[in-house]
């Protein structure tokens, strides 16, 4: 099947259809349609998934396991230290309130943030992480809140 250039986007509803393709065809389909969120099961069936595959407010992720079977996990279970989760959640709430001021001062930079201020910052995330990793005064923290400051608040909203 071929589609002429400059044609209008084609909208397909495949929720009631059984489509089977090869893994090579799937790779090409994903490359040609980066906005579509698709999965390929172990037996080659193409299935659509919601763009985020994440349930809001609970961080439940729906994906496939290594056998190609549907697999669900909670992001909270990926924190081996519960104190780290609590720390990051608290810092995120403070960070969101401070973001307008942070954009003014650190736009386009990576920062390590804690309790309303930037502990350290850098244009290069790897350099910043390396300094923080070796900072004795920061060693007792259960987590490190390191993030990129957008160039504007509008950029933040667009990516929310």
């Amino acid at each position: 099947m071929t589609v002429t250039k400059n044609s209008q986007p084609l909208r397909l509803d495949i929720s009631n259809a059984n489509l089977h393709i090869t893994s090579e065809q799937f790779d090409r389909l994903c490359i040609d349609n980066p906005d579509l969120k698709l999965e390929l099961t172990a037996d080659g069936q193409l299935i659509p998934i919601s763009p985020a595959s994440i349930e809001e407010d609970r961080d439940i992720v729906h994906t496939l396991d290594r056998y190609g079977e549907p697999f669900t996990y909670d992001l909270k279970d990926l924190y081996w230290n519960p104190k780290a989760y609590d720390y990051l959640k608290e810092q995120k709430e403070i960070f969101d309130r401070c973001l307008p001021n942070l954009v003014e001062e650190y736009a386009g930079k990576y920062i390590v943030f804690e309790n309303g201020r930037a502990i350290d910052f850098d244009d290069d995330e790897d350099m910043l992480l390396s300094r923080i990793a070796n900072d004795e005064s920061y060693r007792d923290r259960p987590a490190i809140f390191c993030t990129f400051i957008p160039t504007s608040l509008a950029a933040t909203s667009a990516n929310a």
Binding site: D27, L29, S53, T63, L78, E125, D126, A133
Partner: protein, 115 residues
């Protein structure tokens, strides 16, 4: 590959199932590694894409020390995902690969990694 906790050199691990994936912008490891090394997470979560499968996945970023020769370690960010998704492998992405010069001898099937 060899791994260490950046804050505690006694917490170490190694993995002989590393896969070099130039299509990934970030390195992906299983949850078992981060819990064994007691690593510190960096953010709440991060989206990334398994390029080869076109799949969007989500994991938790952690700070780690890593090395190919168990001597020269670098600090790096890795994304932890459940063990059920990876088959014990480490997917080495460009955030680590870009710090090395990597040559592939196709006929001999040998990768040479130099800093």
């Amino acid at each position: 590959m060899y791994f260490r906790n950046p804050s505690d050199n006694l917490l170490v691990d190694s993995n002989d199932s590393g896969i070099i994936d130039t299509g990934l912008d970030i390195t992906v490891v299983s949850y078992t590694i981060v819990s064994k090394l007691q690593l510190r997470p960096l953010q709440m979560k991060k989206d990334f894409v398994f390029r080869g499968l076109g799949r969007v996945s989500v994991g938790i970023p952690y700070l780690i020390k890593t090395s190919f020769d168990n001597e020269n370690f670098i600090d790096a960010k890795v994304i932890a995902i459940p063990d059920d998704i990876l088959n014990g492998e480490v997917l080495v992405g460009r955030n680590i690969l870009n710090r090395y010069v990597i040559n592939f001898d196709g006929p001999k099937l040998i990768f040479t990694i130099a800093s």
